[in-house]
């Protein structure tokens, strides 16, 4: 008898707790949607509105600001007439150089540091580790001097090249390489394989997750970079997308909100879609970046 009532009140309490939990989750979700999702919705829906419609929804406030009611493609058309296509292409070229270069340069370096026992390994590792402490944005002025000295200023190559020897990329791959048992190397060596073959056919096929992570995070960094491309590129036809957006809001003149929002949305939405599909890689990769 007592056991039964005890059970029933326990069940009732469980239900109460469950509804309290649902309420708490609902409140949290509402706050997060309002703070993090609505600004994006506003950006995207405003991309499909002209200046007048954007301001009409704001004063007085109406929920229609989040919905493109009288959708127009005029902003998108204007953006492509102003050359956003070229800016997107430039950013893509830079990102491809940077991702490809990072892999090409970091993977062999990580192999040497994890799989070959050579003299001076400690010194070289220290030399690399030290640069991990250098904040990239503080080096922009002398970096511009170096790039001009090489005759590379105002080229897309110069936007990507300085970041290819990525310490973050090296560390990420090094960690993945270390998890591969050394016995695999030894077995391959008995079969007569040299370092190049071990690298290509034993190590690389076993670190696909790390390589995917590195590619995605490097692409993100490259695509989102701002200060360095702003500094190194002067020709408008070589401008990358982030600089193009920044210049459309530049202080001084009244920006066209619809067009600026449109540019921001075009530059951001594809990346967000990529993020939604490959969230695990992005979150793990970015969490392991630490400083850079």
């Amino acid at each position: 008898m007592t056991a039964k009532t005890g059970q029933r009140s326990g069940w009732g309490r469980g239900l109460l707790r469950r509804s309290a939990r649902m309420t708490a989750a609902g409140i949290v979700l509402a706050v997060v949607v309002a703070v993090f999702l609505l600004p994006y919705l506003w950006m995207v829906s405003s991309s499909f509105k002209d200046q007048k419609t954007i301001f009409a929804g704001l004063s007085p406030f109406s929920w229609s600001v989040f919905i493109p009611v009288h959708a127009t493609m005029s902003n998108v058309v204007a953006l492509f007439q102003k050359g956003i296509g070229q800016a997107l292409l430039n950013s893509l070229i830079v990102a491809v150089i940077q991702v490809g270069g990072t892999l090409l340069v970091c993977a062999p370096a990580a192999y040497a540091l994890t799989r070959i026992r050579f003299r001076g390994r400690g010194v070289i590792f220290g030399l690399i580790l030290v640069t991990f402490m250098l904040p990239a944005e503080a080096l922009v002025v002398p970096m511009y001097g170096v790039v001009s000295g090489l005759g590379l200023q105002d080229t897309l190559l110069a936007v990507a090249l300085p970041w290819i020897s990525s310490v973050f990329g090296l560390f990420l791959l090094r960690q993945a390489f270390e998890e591969i048992p050394i016995e695999l190397d030894e077995a391959a060596r008995l079969d007569g394989a040299g370092h190049v073959r071990i690298f290509l056919s034993v190590i690389l096929p076993n670190v696909k997750t790390a390589i995917t992570t590195l590619c995605l995070v490097t692409f993100l960094f490259s695509w989102n970079a701002f200060l360095w491309p702003l500094t190194v590129i002067q020709s408008p036809q070589r401008q990358v997308i982030q600089v193009a957006i920044a210049q459309s809001v530049a202080a001084g003149e009244l920006p066209n909100w619809g067009i600026t929002f449109g540019g921001a949305a075009i530059a951001t939405v594809p990346l967000i879609v990529l993020f939604l599909f490959a969230q695990r890689f992005f979150v793990q990769g970015l969490a392991s970046t630490g400083l850079k």
Partner: protein, 316 residues
């Protein structure tokens, strides 16, 4: 190949015993050092050109009065640029503003992201959705974040429109010298919260479950368990997040460039923007390099702290 040839040419205990050190050294050179160099050279060459060379160039620039248009007319000025860093009111203000900015970002990001991480580590529904949404700004460029917030905060923007809808007076935000810096602190917190929360979440998940179970048996409540178990055990994660956020805030540039231009009255003139303006608008890369060195030294101190932390990260 070498291992196959050795038994045929060399008698066991014969000729090879005469010169073991040079032979071994040569073999070591051929089998280890040479391939290692081959694998490392591309990385090291780029590292020397784009990390070490700029350091040397920066050190040299900082001692000269120098113009990017006229590099041949550089004039040696010794420590003059460094004296200027610590006497020029605009630069001093910029350093101070950046310091306040960093403090503000860290002081807000750490507690808020901790609470978010505890939520994400709990059992409430829709956690994955919350994590995805707060991570959106982390994968958005700082340019787009600054652009979006410029319009959100505008006199006629979304936030003032909402304030008006609930009959509150509109706020100046970026145009008010008492609000501008606080506003970009809040924006940066919004931008970085997702990353800090995920880092905290990893820290929380590394705390052994048994500790909580034992504490629960002893009758410790949620608050007690948080204060006595969670916070001390994840203190390394906390410090790590402080360092990451500090270095991120130190390098902030887009807010000043896009949102305010350093205004009003220099209250948002972050140091990287001040460096950029000095080098490329005022054409004083020598002076800008001296500022960069000060920023660099600050970052190195912070990073040394981080490295100590990372090295001892897994020993509780």
């Amino acid at each position: 190949m070498p291992s196959g040839r050795a038994p045929a040419g060399v008698q066991p205990g014969g000729g090879s015993a005469k010169l073991p050190p040079p032979g071994r050294a040569r073999r070591r050179w051929r089998r280890e050092t040479l391939p290692a160099l081959g694998f490392l050279t591309p990385f090291l060459v780029l590292l020397l050109i784009f990390q070490y060379l700029p350091l040397a160039v920066m050190a040299r620039y900082s001692l000269y009065d120098y113009s990017l248009f006229n590099p041949s007319q550089a004039k040696f000025v010794g420590a003059q640029n460094f004296i200027q860093v610590f006497t020029d009111p605009a630069t001093l203000q910029s350093l101070l503003i950046t310091f306040i900015f960093i403090l503000g970002v860290v002081a807000l990001v750490v507690p808020i992201s901790f609470i978010v991480a505890v939520y994400l580590n709990g059992k409430l529904p829709a956690r994955a959705l919350v994590r995805t949404m707060i991570f959106l700004p982390v994968v958005t460029s700082s340019v787009v974040v600054a652009t979006l917030w410029t319009f959100l905060l505008n006199q006629t923007g979304l936030i003032n429109s909402l304030l008006q809808a609930v009959h509150l007076p509109p706020a100046g935000f970026l145009t008010d010298k008492h609000q501008a810096l606080a506003t970009i602190v809040v924006m940066t917190v919004w931008q970085q919260l997702g990353l800090a929360s995920v880092l905290f979440l990893a820290g929380l998940q590394s705390v052994p479950r048994e500790l909580y179970e034992a504490a629960e048996v002893d009758g410790a409540g949620v608050l007690r368990r948080t204060v006595s178990i969670t916070i001390p055990l994840i203190s390394r994660t906390t410090l790590f997040i402080v360092v990451v956020m500090t270095v991120f805030a130190l390098q902030a540039f887009a807010p000043a460039y896009i949102m305010t231009g350093g205004a009003p009255e220099g209250t948002t003139n972050l140091i990287i923007y001040q460096i950029y303006q000095t080098a490329f608008q005022l054409q004083q890369p020598g002076y800008a390099s001296a500022m960069s060195i000060v920023v660099l030294l600050f970052a190195i101190v912070i990073s040394l702290i981080q490295m100590r932390l990372l090295r001892t990260r897994w020993n509780y």
